[in-house]
Subunit: 348 residues, 4 copies
Amino acid sequence: MRAKLAIGGILTALLAAAGGPVAAQDVNDAPLQQNWAPSEWGPDDKAGAVNRTTSELVMKAVGLVKQGKVATLGKVYQGDAPAFGSRGWRLTIPGLPTGGPFGSHKLVYNDEYLATEIGQIGTQFDGPGHIGVMTSKGDFFYNGRFLEDADVTAYGVGPLGVEHVAQKGFVCRGVLLDAAAYRGGPLAVPSGKGDPGIITDADVEAMVKAQGIAPIGEGDCVFLYTGHGNIWDPKDWDKFDAAEKQSRVAKFNAGEPGFGISACEYLAEKKIILTGADTGAVEALPGENADKPFECHMQLQTRRGIWNIENLDLSQLVADKAYEFLFVWAPLKMKGATGSPGNPVALY
Amino acid sequence: MRAKLAIGGILTALLAAAGGPVAAQDVNDAPLQQNWAPSEWGPDDKAGAVNRTTSELVMKAVGLVKQGKVATLGKVYQGDAPAFGSRGWRLTIPGLPTGGPFGSHKLVYNDEYLATEIGQIGTQFDGPGHIGVMTSKGDFFYNGRFLEDADVTAYGVGPLGVEHVAQKGFVCRGVLLDAAAYRGGPLAVPSGKGDPGIITDADVEAMVKAQGIAPIGEGDCVFLYTGHGNIWDPKDWDKFDAAEKQSRVAKFNAGEPGFGISACEYLAEKKIILTGADTGAVEALPGENADKPFECHMQLQTRRGIWNIENLDLSQLVADKAYEFLFVWAPLKMKGATGSPGNPVALY
Amino acid sequence: MRAKLAIGGILTALLAAAGGPVAAQDVNDAPLQQNWAPSEWGPDDKAGAVNRTTSELVMKAVGLVKQGKVATLGKVYQGDAPAFGSRGWRLTIPGLPTGGPFGSHKLVYNDEYLATEIGQIGTQFDGPGHIGVMTSKGDFFYNGRFLEDADVTAYGVGPLGVEHVAQKGFVCRGVLLDAAAYRGGPLAVPSGKGDPGIITDADVEAMVKAQGIAPIGEGDCVFLYTGHGNIWDPKDWDKFDAAEKQSRVAKFNAGEPGFGISACEYLAEKKIILTGADTGAVEALPGENADKPFECHMQLQTRRGIWNIENLDLSQLVADKAYEFLFVWAPLKMKGATGSPGNPVALY
Amino acid sequence: MRAKLAIGGILTALLAAAGGPVAAQDVNDAPLQQNWAPSEWGPDDKAGAVNRTTSELVMKAVGLVKQGKVATLGKVYQGDAPAFGSRGWRLTIPGLPTGGPFGSHKLVYNDEYLATEIGQIGTQFDGPGHIGVMTSKGDFFYNGRFLEDADVTAYGVGPLGVEHVAQKGFVCRGVLLDAAAYRGGPLAVPSGKGDPGIITDADVEAMVKAQGIAPIGEGDCVFLYTGHGNIWDPKDWDKFDAAEKQSRVAKFNAGEPGFGISACEYLAEKKIILTGADTGAVEALPGENADKPFECHMQLQTRRGIWNIENLDLSQLVADKAYEFLFVWAPLKMKGATGSPGNPVALY
């Protein structure tokens, strides 16, 4: 039941799991004891914090578009780009051409055939079925759903499926926090609590102030730029040869800077609806509590339905100092999927 | 080299291809004789008509958002939904959970593993590598690229890859043409030229007028609502049992109403940048020229770089009579892919 | 955690699983109480009953080859053939050709790209990781291994992997039991205990006697011919059109004749090492105990390490009355797989 | 249309293909000029040299079994083992368990979901659809079939499918040529013609003589042991860590010793029906004609229907000096596939 992870550096130790069957006490019943369910949107809710979006908030966000500029925030999906653990991306073109010629005009066409962890590779969105907690009642997910429920199967996570979030989509005020500017350079992988590679609640407040933007508030989508994502160059990965790519993949995957849990709790209190970053986890690995890898994932996603999008290309926004923008994106409506690939659009 | 298509009704006959090797004369050299390449954006262009988008057009489109309403236009991806030919969708959840428990907080996670024609199934975008023409010089695609070029391989269509369009994305004035309202009910599969299931250039002009919107113009994205898409119910496909689904899949795939070539030529002259519809092809099958299936595909896409998005859920826009809106969407940056799945966002 | 099965007829009811999380008492602790582990080959064994094969038994089996005849017992793998539940088979040819031309001789080559439940589709072998029992200690599998063990992951069943059986392979005396001849025609899907569609221990003895062969004994591989497999024609499935195929798939999957548990227990006592048949389960569905679907699977495989191969083409052996033969086959050594595809060879 | 190969060492240069569309003269019309078709088994034949097998030859091969020993000759399939070019192997376990619990006995089961170049990875068999020649009439394959034929599609190679060979299977006298013993150690990657890493016709004759076995003759299956395959350890690949595996994969793929074209022509004259080896190509790379990579593939397979099986584990046979044995194996009957995975059985 445990994942074998072929990752390097700090993460290997962080994520090491002892062998043997899981003992009864070897669980975390916080979700049960602290009443993480039902969510504030009721026991039937399947979408989470995106429910906060209102027409008023949409109109306010639309008002941020001043120059008519557009940035696409996704990175290029390709087989040799970094991926977590043993995830992989394989794309082939059947037939070349796949079909035709049809008709007197001799039309031909191509498809592609893809095999991959579609929602959890490259630029990826974490939906309700992605992160949970092992409890004595089973594996607890958003809004009190369990993997052991009858409608969660080998072929889809049922009511935890991303399609329920995707039906709503994200149209919000995007806030860019440029931590690399704030720290005076790209953040390095943190060595533990107190390290500048971890962005705290105080750091968030300081960046908002330094950047001269309105405070983070309800319905916002908040994106962190650390510079770590440039190891996996967002503009032209193919300028590197195979050896250089392999070296960069290892470096990219060996821990990362990002939000600490104090920042995540702060953002949750402000009632934001989405986090994102130029990194693979958005939060620091390791973070403020070294024994709790992906703690923000659990506290924001499983507990509060505040979803997350990873491995964004924020370089154009950083270059343009576009600290506030209209963020528009909806995950794919993939029935029973845990997440989604994406190429979100920022307008400013 | 020819596709075997397990489709029903009219299409089977339309797309029947004679056996035997392709004779030398059995080609269509129109692209070579009519100088379809280089495109108006130069020989290096890989994006097509989306190049028409300007900051001014973006700002004008943003100005269409009045109520703060949001519609997501994708349909749900699932294995038993309609697909063309032998395309298929298989999604599984490795492990359940896929990984964990990690750390003292016992975090677990799920991935999904998907195998599919990712860019050409369900709500799908046709990019530069999808449609071409068999000529005496090889299979001709957008801007004079050939499948026989060295950088088009079994693992991706190289310079024809959708990532180059995806880098730009579509931010445009969306125009909804409600043909079902215009015709007084859902359009049926046409029987041939002159059939009301085919939308002509005159019909487009008449609908624009009837709907009281500004003329179609440069940089617009134009979407046709026929009602045919409701056979594949966009809101709750799972309300049908397996037999009903199979019956509806067959009906959905057996030809479709849509644009005729006269409408497509009209739209091209108006310099639009994207077509779309609630159907699988956007254009009528059969269309005005029964011997040229997918003629609009070739004339808009291969020749002019005006791309296309199929199987949209336009029902909310129709219900709200949202005939003009801000359309925001970018294909996935999948290296070397022919198309992209999608869940575009309309704001109005 | 429960499978949703899109299957028809009797099976749907048989396999219906109640919703809701699994209660503590909702388990079967027989494997724990009856000491199903360690197996008779010791706690480290990963191969099961194939361990019974000796050089002497091999030489005896080789002695059965008299005419120099060869039969291949696999059925053709193709996407429209019957499959259990939602399993599927997708094969594409990347590129066509996939690669080349290479060298002055202009060599080209093709690959195929396949996505499927490789070990559990078509002619398929059930290995140690396929069948288990839900107990209060976890999901119990052959020789006391649990799915909850640390080395069983989303990427392979670890020590339960089929490669350990595959390392040995099956070289045995093959015994064909022609139940269709014995019953005077193809067996029908049984309606319950006592139905002629269920082959009992007494039936096995009677067939051996009627066929005039030596008694079933240690190290034998025993194959049952019911005639049910002809619904999925083993010689030319493609002579049927799509509608006929769909109809036959439904019929093939709606229950099946086969061994009852009394026959399976009998065969286990005789110390055979493999069962097989021209059906999808080898055992009757429903069998002698209607509330225990796949009871033989559990009692032979999980408990005793007597593996099973399904959907064989036994037609040539039946036509030749080849009731005893040299059976030679080894599963694929797929690390961590639950089973294997196959095309076993019979020599006689 | 050309493959991009991510391989190292000598092969990269050998297989480099110039860019640009293929010129009319850039073909090899030898198959057309030398009448490679129809084959000696007639224009309808789809199986090739395996047609030589007779009952008499089968009985003679059966007579080689003296000790009752069994060796399985396949290697373990796993994601981190060597593969050619960009081929890959991904296996996941949906659900874990995939299905259940069923019935009062609470049965659960697992499947695996695999995505891979199934016939051309690991221990692999080259069938009629794998190797061809680019000619002025199209891509020529065994018995004069062309990839451009109407029944060769993106979903299978039609009459070139491996299922036609698989229907017959290989039951033959296996001959092991121990080149490592003959050369006094594992063969190294050859540097060109005359290098001891290339096994010539004279070497074959010398080895047969040295090993004291009967001459190679009609219907034989001939296997070469070079020692190169031990770089990819056939018994326990997992004893190596990830870095060591990567290093060995690179070394394994950087050219290889094997048969030269003179040996292949010799074996063809002797009317053998199958070649095999402990290497990825069986023939030397580079071989006697450095400008013709995979020349044996073309001359044996495309021209004569003598198929080939690669990456065998011959270590037990070598250790036992089992130079003659009964070889029993049939490819999987995969409709329209180019090859097959395998785990052949040797009895001696």
